[in-house]
Structure formats: C-alpha cells, structure tokens
C-alpha cells in the first residue's frame, strides 16, 4: 500500500515538474505575449496542482493537507488574475480604446 502511495506521489510530482519545465521553456521561447502567458499559466495550474496532489498523501494530518490545498488555490487565483490582467494590457496596446 505504501509502495503504491510512493509511486503515485513520485508520478504526480514528476508530471508537475514536467509542466513547470514546459511552462518555463514556453515563457522563454514563445514569440508573442499571449502565448507566453498561456505557457506560464500551465506551469502555475497544472504544475503546482500536480505537485500538491503528489505531496497530499505524504503529509501527516488533515490540517497540513488543507494548507497545501489552500496554497495551490491561492496561487491558482493569483496566477489566473495576473494572466487576465496581462492579456487585457496586451489587447489595449493592440487596439487602444477611442
């Protein structure tokens, strides 16, 4: 049972790290701002989400698990809002309101 949990954790964390690396590569390599924002939000949401999911079975106590979920939710909320704001700024630059 504990072997299965370890495997699950390792798989989730590795998948999360993969999304972080992919997101970072996208941020560095993509040409336009909107694509870069897209790459970055993948790292924030999926990357951190998978790492948090992988760590969940390893923490002791429901309070620590809850903290992990809250951290992920807050980064999710902050990252999403920042992405929306950047996208709005790009749109205003492309066709400024009259």
């Amino acid at each position: 049972m504990s072997m299965l949990i370890s495997l699950f954790s390792a798989a989730c964390v590795l998948a999360g790290v993969f999304f972080f690396i992919a997101g970072t590569l996208g941020l560095l390599r993509f040409g336009d701002t909107l694509s870069r924002v897209h790459a970055l939000t993948k790292a924030d949401n999926l990357g951190l989400g998978l790492i948090a999911l992988g760590l969940l079975p390893l923490v002791d106590g429901i309070a620590d698990a809850l903290k992990l979920v809250v951290i992920w939710a807050l980064v999710f909320l902050g990252g999403t809002t920042a992405a929306q704001l950047v996208a709005l700024a790009v749109r205003r630059e492309q066709d400024p309101p009259p």
Binding site: V70, L74, L77, T81, Q84, L85
Partner: protein, 312 residues
C-alpha cells in the same frame, strides 16, 4: 550530494539574479531582477533552516518592496528624458569599494571560529518565563525588545517621510493616486474574493508567531496587501491622511509597546521588563497592536503620498 544538487543552483541563481539586476538594460528589467533575487534569497533562507527570516524576506523583501519599486519604475519610465548615468570615475570608485567590501565580508566569513559563536543555547534555556514557543519571537519581544521597539517606531517615521512628499494643496487627501474602478475586471474580482481569505491568513501568521515562524511584520504585511488591493481595484477609497483613526492605527503599535515598557518600571525590574507570569499576555497585547500598525503603515507606504493623478 543531494545538498549540493539543491544548494549549487540556489547559489548560482542568487548570483545570476543579482547580476541580471545590475546589468539590466531597462529599468523594468532591473526591477524584475530585483524581485527574482528576493525570491531566490527566500529559498536560500529556507535551506539555511531560518524559516522566520525566509518569511520576512518573502513578505517584505520580495513582495512589499517590489510593489513599491515597480510602481516607482513605471512612473519614472513615463518621463521623456531618462536621468544621465553617473560619470565613469564615480562608477569605477563604487565598483572598487563594493569589491573591497565583498573581500572583507568573505574574509570575516572564512575566519569565523569553529563552532561559530552562538547565543542560541542561552535563549533556549531562558525561554520558559516568556511563555513563548518560538525562540525568534522570544528574542524579538523579550531579550532584545528595545531593538524591536525602535524598529516599530521607524515605521511611523517612514509614513511621516512619505506623507511629507505631498504638495501643500493635497494635504489631507487620501494616500496614493486615484484608481479608476472597473466593476467587472479581473482585478475587481480578485479584490472581492481574496480579502476574506487573506485577512484570515494574515491574522493566522501574526498569531502563530508566538510558537512557530510568523509574527507581526509578516502577518501585518499580508493584511496591508489585503487593504491595498481594493484601493487599487477602485472598489473603496482609502481614508484621508488626516483621519485620526488611520493615524491612531499607524501609531498604536509603538504606543502600546512604549506604555508596556514604561509600566515595567512600576511592576517589574525596569524598562521593557515584564512582570513574572504576565509576559505572554503582554507580548500578545504588543503583537496585536503592532500587527495593526504594520498593516496600516505598510498600506500607506505602498499607496504613497496623496496625489490627484488618476490611473486607469
């Protein structure tokens, strides 16, 4: 081996971020470098097993300071003519002095006696009378309370200094620029959703400081962010800088601290001494007032002096 795998990228990253800050061609790039340096320094403190310092670095160094300089950079960037770079002789001199300082610091670090001198053991031996579980808080609030008292007064003077930048005719207005409200924008959404959660987290960080990493500065900074966010989103207007409630909130922490300190003459051994058995109660009283003051003062520092200019 694992330690090296973790520490080497951190050390190189810290150097890299510092170099990127100094060598950045644009002001905005330099600010981003500074923010990255703060974030990596936070991780370095975590690796050095100093979570209290890491929390402070994250909240004050990487977050609050970054917001302030990002705002300043965006305003300077709008100017037509950038300031002229200093003359070459001044830059060379600054470089030589910095290199000299680095060498001296490295020399001091490498000539430390083994084991390094530490007061950690006496602090842990004398933690019981304070009723606290976190030795860092015991040092800040009991053993070296005078330093923390002076530190808390600095916040009030910083707000004075910022407010005195306001032109005469704007005195008595609300701090900071006037932000336009966007009723359905993403920022307005965040400013409505986040504060209830953030206030609980800020109070929790301040409260847990008695027994675990956390405390008034870290918790107060989170509360300040939760106060500033609805201002920036244009949902609420900040109070006027001549509002007595705002001024009292900023001064409450140092005032309570000073009063408890003076009370020490009457009921304990002297200035800033706590009567036996009441140490934790009094420390919590000071911490509560200080959390309020840190939140109010930092919110005013981030907002800046009163100005009329509206930002969309």
């Amino acid at each position: 081996m694992t330690a090296l795998l973790l520490d080497l990228p951190l050390a190189l990253g810290l150097f890299g971020a510092g170099a990127a800050t100094l060598l950045a061609r644009s002001l905005f790039g330099a600010v981003l470098g500074f923010i990255s340096t703060g974030l990596i320094a936070t991780l370095v403190w975590v690796r050095l097993e100093a979570p209290d310092v890491a929390l402070t670095e994250a909240v004050i160094g990487a977050a609050a300071t970054s917001v302030i300089i990002l705002y300043v950079a965006s305003r300077i960037g709008n100017r037509a003519t950038p300031p002229a770079p200093p003359p070459i002789a001044q830059r060379v001199l600054a470089g030589i002095l910095s290199a000299l300082l680095a060498v001296l610091l490295a020399h001091a670090l490498f000539s430390l006696p083994e084991p390094a001198p530490s007061l950690a053991a006496p602090v842990l031996d004398n933690i019981a009378p304070t009723g606290l579980g976190n030795p860092v808080t015991a040092v800040l609030m009991a053993h070296r309370a005078i330093d923390t008292l002076l530190e808390s007064a600095v916040l009030v003077f910083a707000v004075f200094a910022i407010w005195s930048m306001a032109p005469e005719r704007r005195w008595g207005r609300a701090p900071g620029p006037a932000f336009m409200a966007e009723a359905h924008g993403p920022l307005a959404f965040l400013a409505k959703v986040l504060p209830p959660i953030g206030i609980v987290i800020g109070v929790y960080i301040a409260w847990v400081g008695a027994d675990a990493p956390g405390g008034k500065f870290q918790g107060g900074a989170v509360l300040a962010a939760m106060w500033v966010l609805p201002w920036i989103a244009g949902l609420v207007a900040p109070p006027s800088i001549s509002d007595m409630r705002l001024r009292l909130a900023i001064a409450a922490g140092p005032l309570v601290f000073l009063m408890v300190g003076l009370m020490g003459f009457a009921v304990a051994e002297g200035f800033l001494a706590y009567p036996p058995g009441y140490a934790k109660t009094l420390i919590l009283l000071i911490e509560t007032a200080m959390t309020l003051s840190v939140a109010a003062a930092m919110a005013c520092m981030i907002a800046g002096p009163p100005e009329r200019r509206a930002r969309p």
